[in-house]
Amino acid sequence: MTTADRQTLSMHHSEVQVSVELQTPDMTLNLGPQHPSTHGVLRLVAQVDGEVIKELEPVVGYMHRGYEKLAEVRTYPQITALVNRIDWVSGFANEIPFMVATERLMGIEVPERAQYIRLILTEMARISNHLVFLSSLPLELGAATPLMHALRERERVLDLIEGATGGRFHPNFNRIGGVKPAAGAGSTQKKVVQDLPQGFLEQTKSAMEYVRDVCADMVNLVLGNEIFMQRTKGVGIIPADKALAFGVSGPNLRASGVPFDLRKTDDYLPYSNFDFDVVTGSNGDCFDRYAVRLEEVVQASRIVDQAVEEIPAGDLQAKVPRIIKVPKGEIYVRAENPKGEMGYYIVSEGGRGPYRLKIRTASFSNLSVLSWLLKGQLVPDLIAILGSLDFVLGDVDR
């Protein structure tokens, strides 16, 4: 740990003067960048009076990798490999809006089977992301057991994703025009169109059963727990209008009572073929954010079940030219990523790479509400609130 700030630890030097009013200066508490609770390298500089936070300033940028500048010197297929590292917990979902944006600019129609596969893998990424969240918030509050149960089921989902795509976190499975159609590497092997692995669909169905079981466990173990409720109910309330003004999206926004889900409003993937509910909370406190994500896992598993039933046969990738050159134009496509709204604004000037790629990430906006939200909260509540916002620093810093 860092040694104390000399300027404020005045008690140490026996300068206490007993007077009518006891002067207790505010303490500057510096959380991070290395800290067990912040989800990555986030630094929080807080002015603390006893246990109450007077002011808080988040310092981000420790993981800034310069994605937008980098995208200007990469071709579109190369950018595919880069973007799933933005929000590494839900790797597959980061690629989708970029793919859809590029395909729309080029006017390519993605085959239905490829769209269904994308959808299944996106929902699996959502389940994987939410299971991490569902286990880490109780862990920060002191309950270590939900972590083990949730991550055990997550392994099933990750194994499935790995079986289909070859990677657990960074699948790099999307191609412009569909998903990866060929297996085998090297120029000497004849490229064979390989579909999903054998048994993938059956195993997916059984994995979803397990996922629903663990969600039921979580309801009993965590949601019904008196102490958890005391720690999270009424803590960190984000009112709906503030959430909208700050750009908070995804489960955080829905927990504040706004039933806004991009899967229902935008058609970047064929979600309209499936029956699922938009999960909304009522208060916008930490408890609601947890409950919303818990229910979203169940809904995602429903979608996967339906998609696995109805997946059509067909091609995995549309015919695209060998060298991808996107015609001149601008487009903004957004998707409902597990953490919120993720969008790509592509400005194309006809080159092999974008002229400008603006990446709109969910966690950046979700985190910007922090300095407003944490004024007047207690230090232990800080941990609960940070844990409930579900951000990851790669998403914040890009």
Binding site: V60, G61, H64, G66, E68, K69, E72, V73, P77, R104, L105, R175, P181, S187, K190, K191, V192, D241, K242, L244, A245, F246, G247, S249, L253, F260, L262, K264, T265, Q317, K319, V320, R322, I323, K328, G329, E330, I331, Y332, R334, E341, G343, Y345, V347, E349, G350, G351, R352, G353, Y355, R356, K358, R360, F364, S365, L367, S368, V369, W372, D397
Partner: protein
């Protein structure tokens, strides 16, 4: 409503006559001095602030492919994206500011979320947002010099090794071909 209807309606609401809806994205251009007023007018109907950023339009680029358009007017185009959560509409508002003295009024009073986005745009492009409460850098270290997302900012790695163009093209399933390609042949 469709993007084109949305674009024309928003344009009418803010008093602009330049709008487009190419590729399904409703985009409305606003004059720089009406930027904050336009947002204030729209804030009731579009309370969701998605993002704010900028584009550096330049004819000469240090890295990457040169732009195809021949008549690019050098400017910074500041974009902001607003949304409506009832019906899922979203519109991109844009304005142009000059490169010599890039400054624009800040949206921090209208939308709280503009705070961080403007800090990022200021840091990356060198745009001054007048009236912003705390326009310090957000991503880069304090000792960093320059504004990275400007087209005139050279990526250090590209100084050492020039832009290689297209390499490692993956052939289509029914084609066989070399896995690497000479950049000149890529056309």
């Amino acid at each position: 409503m469709s993007p084109s209807e949305l674009a024309s309606r928003i344009a009418g609401a803010v008093g602009s006559d330049r709008f487009s809806s190419d590729n399904g994205t409703a985009k409305v251009h606003i004059a720089a001095d009406r930027w904050v007023d336009a947002h204030r007018t729209l804030s009731a109907e579009m309370p969701y602030f998605s993002w704010l950023s900028a584009i550096d339009w330049a004819t000469e680029v240090v890295v990457g492919d040169a732009p195809e358009s021949e008549d690019i007017e050098p400017r910074y185009e500041v974009l902001s994206c607003l949304g409506n959560v009832e019906n899922g509409e979203s519109v991109v508002l844009s304005t142009a500011i000059s490169k010599d003295d890039p400054s624009l009024d800040s949206l921090a009073d209208v939308y709280g979320g503009a705070d961080w986005h403007e800090r990022e745009a200021a840091e990356m492009f060198g745009i001054d947002f007048v009236g912003h409460p705390n326009l310090t850098g957000i991503y880069l270290p304090d000792s960093f010099e320059g504004h990275p997302l400007r087209k005139s900012f050279a990526l250090l790695s590209r100084e050492v090794k020039p832009w290689p163009g297209t390499v490692d093209v993956e052939p289509m399933p029914d084609e066989e071909g070399p896995s690497t390609e000479n950049p000149e042949d890529a056309g």
